[in-house]
Symmetry: C2
Subunit: 430 residues, 2 copies
Amino acid sequence: MEIIIKPRREEYQVLLQRPHKGAADLNALVSSVLEDVKKRGDAAIREYELKFDHVQLHDLQVTDAEICQAASLLKDELKDAIHSAHENIARFHQAQRMKTIQVETAPGVFCSQKSVPIQKVGLYIPGGTAPLFSTVLMLATPARIAGCQEIILCSPPDSHGQLHPAILYAAKVAGVNRIYKCGGVQAIGAMAYGTESIPRVSKIFGPGNQFVTCAKQHVSLHDVAIDMPAGPSEVAIIADKSANPVFVAADMLSQAEHGRDSQAVLFTDSEILAHKVVSEAERQLAQLSRKELAEDSLSYSRIFVLKDINESFDICNEYAPEHLIIAMDDAINWADKVINAGSVFLGHYSCESAGDYASGTNHTLPTSGYAKAYSGVNLDSFCRKITFQNLTADGIRSIGRTVELMAEAEGLDAHRNAMTYRINKVTSKS
Amino acid sequence: MEIIIKPRREEYQVLLQRPHKGAADLNALVSSVLEDVKKRGDAAIREYELKFDHVQLHDLQVTDAEICQAASLLKDELKDAIHSAHENIARFHQAQRMKTIQVETAPGVFCSQKSVPIQKVGLYIPGGTAPLFSTVLMLATPARIAGCQEIILCSPPDSHGQLHPAILYAAKVAGVNRIYKCGGVQAIGAMAYGTESIPRVSKIFGPGNQFVTCAKQHVSLHDVAIDMPAGPSEVAIIADKSANPVFVAADMLSQAEHGRDSQAVLFTDSEILAHKVVSEAERQLAQLSRKELAEDSLSYSRIFVLKDINESFDICNEYAPEHLIIAMDDAINWADKVINAGSVFLGHYSCESAGDYASGTNHTLPTSGYAKAYSGVNLDSFCRKITFQNLTADGIRSIGRTVELMAEAEGLDAHRNAMTYRINKVTSKS
């Protein structure tokens, strides 16, 4: 972990550079798998599942029996934890419901904006050693609250053709309608184009490796919406001398264990804290099961010692972190200084893992500086805002002439005529 | 205009097909221009302006003097119209402001969601014969209300190096900070990467031809957010026997004049209305200045005569039109049947051109069926929702164990540790 003392503002951009992504061009491979799924449907899915997940599948859909059985395979305390997290996530996302907005913008011109759920959504949950059942809760819970009619989930099966019981259990708790054993690029293709077994959806959510990310971007160009561009996870911490170095080091490590390209960055005005965090991180690192991974990732981590806390916020807003922990006694008073971040953790007890699992906020967040333009997943991600307008005869009198003049100035006669016919009708009546 | 009587449900998909887009592969050309702008900045911009817009530019930025002069070049009644439209648009988008949401999701766990403006946004306004100053209002007005710090606008100059005065005037009224003479792919590149003159932005908005659209998609993969995928404009009309065929025909024509690939579709339960609309459209067409264009586009238009109005809504939701006019006496009572549409026009006096210019709703809307997953531009398009969480010692007691259990089950030790250290601290205190 490199400590950088009082960098100049011109250096920010270079110093804030994120670990380089593998520049491998996956486009050709990804396109060919997607095309194949589009053309051959389930047959292609089964072939790729054999090839990539080493499993011969007959039915792609998880049966009710399998879902029931999942419950019996999990310890009660984990099931309770899943329910408890689900409740908090539901509570926070329920509060995000938007009321219909109605405004009479001019006499007789009534405009409204209404939130309507996306009808069909697809959730992708990666496989691998760690079953990301928390992400199931984070995606399916708001989808269900939004009122999406069809919520499907795709996840790669293990070599026995099974999904992890915690994924199945979380999916049932959060209200997923149908679950499919299907992973990688082929799963994204299935949800984008539809196959005999797997229905086409209008929007795809969820994390994945670089192949899945590339596939999501590919299908997003013409076929389906996606949640957001994905990149390696990251945390920034702004801390002053009130911070607890044990907590700060633990938070940096909990980011580092995600993967080699994860990044943890500390901005502080206290050089003493900086050194304490470095030695504490070394101590904690030694005890981790994912030690090597975290060690590697920690080499990308940086500690910036800055003139003051204000400057810490400036540089942090430039970085636009996915997660931002403000480890200060008066963190709440500084919250308004946050301009670019995905999710913010205020105060010494608010660790990132609280939000990763159970505080209620969503953990699907913009990485790679995308927080400058994107929100994390929230209730709105599963809805569209449709506008309505209703003009009375008075409304025609209010804005009719304005519309005629503007349409004319834009050279659009038929646009003007559509209004002129109405003006004539209203005038002939009055 | 083809009339289709009582199609079977299985035929919907084929019958609802939109006019084919030019399948030309623009990727190679677009990438090379973007790369060049990235590398050479202003010098590249000037070269492409000479090549594509046939103009030798020195300064790219429009001067204050030019903006002032624009006002003197426009008729007062058009300026009044621009102000009036701006007021209505402002009124409707102001009402869309989101209040910060705060919830105690569990004892001692305080979560909030706050809307924060995107700091830097770029608006693209196409050139051509018709100056789209209405689109300037539609994009800049909500950007200003949202509180974006930097709102820049790029638009291609004419062969004298000038932008249309109505574009400059609308930009000033709506609060654009800086305006640049720059169009096409090079403008998208400039806003995505930044040049010496033109600042880099975080999100690009606005319509454009297929080159601009391709460039926006290209930069959206890695560099910047965009408003939405773009396609040819379209309108669907649901009408019963109460509809006025003069109005319906005028509305279809006002769509048709947009371009050869625009589409107007009518869904009705009245065969009599269908025939009246066809003959009325022919009559009105003869009088249009853009007659040939509209005639061409009208050949893509279809009239569906359906069993009843319910079926009209079913097929229309399948089509997911950008604009939907409900031309019925009791249109308001049917509004809740709309599931997929960009913007909806209720009743006989609510023509699309009212919303295109001055009702207050936004006219930048999802086309090509994207209304199934995307909203039109609205205040939110210029904001991000940032979440905050603050845990007290009680909060740790509420959810600490849940977090530990879930992190452990996902195999993430360091995530668990970050919570365990805090639990220990809280326990040792109490």
